[in-house]
Symmetry: C2
Subunit: 267 residues, 2 copies
Amino acid sequence: MKKPRSAALLDRAASIDRTSYEPAYMQLVNILRRSVASGVFRPGDQLPSEAQLCERYSVSPMTVRRAINLLADQGVISTAQGRGCFVKPVELGAAAFHLAALQDLFSDRETTTVKLLETRILSADERIARKLGIVVGDRTVYIRRLLSTDGVPAFYHREYLIYDPKRPIVEAEMEVTALRGLFSGTGETILKRGDLSLEAAILTADEARLLKATSPTAAFCIEHLFYDFDDCPISWGWFICPSERLRFNTQVGISGSITTRSGVQEK
Amino acid sequence: MKKPRSAALLDRAASIDRTSYEPAYMQLVNILRRSVASGVFRPGDQLPSEAQLCERYSVSPMTVRRAINLLADQGVISTAQGRGCFVKPVELGAAAFHLAALQDLFSDRETTTVKLLETRILSADERIARKLGIVVGDRTVYIRRLLSTDGVPAFYHREYLIYDPKRPIVEAEMEVTALRGLFSGTGETILKRGDLSLEAAILTADEARLLKATSPTAAFCIEHLFYDFDDCPISWGWFICPSERLRFNTQVGISGSITTRSGVQEK
DNA sequence: AAGTGGTCTAGACCACTAT
DNA sequence: TAGTGGTCTAGACCACTTT
């Protein structure tokens, strides 16, 4: 078995500032992250043991442990009981594209408008019935919306809702605020969970016309199936957004960034 | 201010099994997750205070704290100092599509083959030079690969590598194992970090022919820019994958699932 | 003032790995 | 056997919010 490069030396200048508002465990996380980012520790290297870190930075084992756990959660290191902590190499499979990009499209601005294109009662065909867990012929509400920011069409939304006169979901669901709340997690909601699926698609002629896009245009299509608290499907639909108006960006590996309470920020 | 629905009652049957291999904090995470999933706690509800949880489940404050932190990390609850812990509503913006789906395309199977379509030295034009941080005319290595699983073309990869005779990256980079290792995080790598960008695209005639796809076909295009340990770009390229051969799936909200050490699993 | 979450201590014991 | 990570205790003190 290959002997891993071991901890040559820690950044001797770095230490925990007890007067800082920043918690000790977070300072330690950032110290170790910087050590990895600057090449003091390379992929495969073994980190100093927890006991060594305790002594070096004058913190208790629980504080070191917390920093170690955070780094492991962030995918920076891997831990192996009885062996040690090791710096992980870059892993492309660990990358994730966050839907927050789509959220930002309209939820940050005050200039978002929703145009209701169509709302009507529709009898469920076999395909809809199967998805929503109802029987063919049951009534659903078919909704088509166009969301624009600053007057530019951003995305097009089609949705089949279960029609239930006992539940006032139709009115609430059609509002702008309902969609905004859905993305930002604010406001009331009767949804417990949802399954999402992302695919690439080519806009149909109708979609291209609505979205004021040149045809043919590539687009993202986000299919959603939402469930209520009884785990019954209540909404099936798609968000369609031209690729040129939405980019998913992410990073893998360690950059020279620091970690804050709310995530990772650029330096 | 609206009074939140408070903790009516915890699942009285649930308790921490001290003989279980499963740590106490993880058992507590799952107990609380199930409470949310089953509707005992609804979005907006306040959870029992940490002190109450300590007493109810006979664990120390640190153990409760750890469970609380995990649930907050998972997006199940939000915490507010001085006020309490509250169940978060479904937030579409919190959804993330993981590239592990692409990784599975070939890394799980033994039947993955890489066909090198082209490898040649290329003088950098203005566009390439800007991306790779070199000057126009500098030599780069242009590589085109086709990755197939079970004989079916899965994705097409084009890449510009910085040509550096001092660094044996060219040989290593061209191997199948290099790509596999890149996705799975195994093997040696000289990459420190990478920026990724996902867009939807329509296959060109050439791409459709190579990928044996009908034209026109929608595809995912994952642009990547990799950096070495000196933070210098060394590789710029694209993975192109027909949408019909790759779907990104994810969930938002709480399902009736349990959490394990490695993430979230279906029940 | 009382209650809440947030941090931290200084150990303890266990399971696992390497020598 | 020694060293490692993994869990856990039983408090302490602080900052913040609500009453």
